[in-house]
Symmetry: C2
Subunit: 193 residues, 2 copies
DNA sequence: TGTACGTTAGTAATCGTTAACTTACTCTGG
DNA sequence: CCAGAGTAAGTTAACGATTACTAACGTACA
């Protein structure tokens, strides 16, 4: 159960990390990001570890609905995948901080105790993707010579690398410009001949 | 030009980072990893920034030959890709610290001044992969409806995610067990011969 | 009156870095 | 051949800044 203030702190922490990297995710920086003292943070989180945990929960709650859209779609496999990637990229482009969502396991491997949660987060997302492909294969809308989990790994891995490259560019470009190629490539590869 | 001691320090730094995360990459930890004082480190690197730069150079020198094997092969393109992935996974499995190679841009985005080098490292690897696919397409041994750079992104993104998951597992499993599925999936998708 | 939420002002530990000094080796002139 | 100068590479001991965290206290509001 999260209070308003806790959510504010978590969002501030995500902003700090996305802007300046995990090294700058300090209690001091989070506190000053919402204009309070360091000690005030400890009124809401008992330790930095608990703040990190809350960040992961928050990121998961943002990412999960995105993956849920995969199943909600009524159209063809290609349309569903297109909508998923478009929605995801729009979200990431609108708020760069959300980029952290995709790379949580890379970023937060600081606190060894968070490992199980990080693993669960990634595994959950992959499972959703795999389920999407399982359905697509069952309905003969997707090639069946690869396992759903393999299709999911390829999809997620590819998306991550595109986002990673976009995030690394100097001049800010449109992530959406990348969306079309990714969708086109994957749906071309995975569709039935 | 690197001295022996510099290389020792860089290798120690890579070990520290791979084991405990970038937060633990401190001069103190690197120094004690080779059994000297902190001040001794500064006899070989003027600053932590220079150590970080040297790490990137080192990682690149390890990874570049791996990518070079793509072009050296005499057999089919499928065999070349198989050999590349097998060699890469063997290397990563043999020395877990090398896993950092694949995720350098994620790990070392601490020092903003390193960004150009990180970008160059990733771009260089992708360019090698793209060249491989360019050749394969030219000889009609790979599907031609995707651009080489897209094939390269998919390949590298997929490899990274497999390695990432393997690296995150609790009980140590064999990375090599994933090599065959990855190779099979990509060859099938790309009609690589 | 008590609880929620803030403050100031500290703590010990750790960060990157430097100063001053020691040790061991090599090069060079008489 | 060998004294002495120079240098490479280590040491201890500190520096100011920053880390996560805490104790004691103030204040608004039910």
């Amino acid at each position: 159960m999260q209070t308003k203030r806790q959510i504010e702190l978590v969002e501030a922490a995500i902003r700090v990390t996305a802007n300046d990297g995990i090294q700058k995710l300090t209690i001091r920086n989070v506190a000053s990001a919402i204009g309070v003292s360091e000690a005030a943070v400890y009124r809401h989180f008992a330790s930095k570890h608990e703040l990190l945990q809350a960040i992961l929960v928050h990121l998961d709650s943002l990412l999960a609905p995105q993956f849920a859209t995969l199943h909600a779609s009524q159209g063809s496999y290609k349309e569903a995948l297109t909508k998923f990637i478009n929605d995801l990229f729009t979200l990431l482009e609108h708020n760069t901080a959300f980029t952290l969502m995709l790379f949580a396991e890379e970023t937060f491997n600081v606190d060894i105790q968070l490992k199980p949660q990080l693993d669960a987060l990634l595994s959950g997302n992959l499972k959703q993707l795999a389920k999407f492909y399982t359905d697509a294969i069952a309905e003969k809308r997707c090639r069946a010579d690869l396992k759903p989990i393999e299709l999911a790994m390829i999809t997620f891995g590819t998306i991550r690398l595109y986002v990673s490259r976009w995030h690394m560019q100097d001049q800010p470009t449109n992530l959406m410009d990348y969306a079309a190629p990714v969708t086109a490539s994957l749906s071309t590869l995975f569709s039935l001949q």
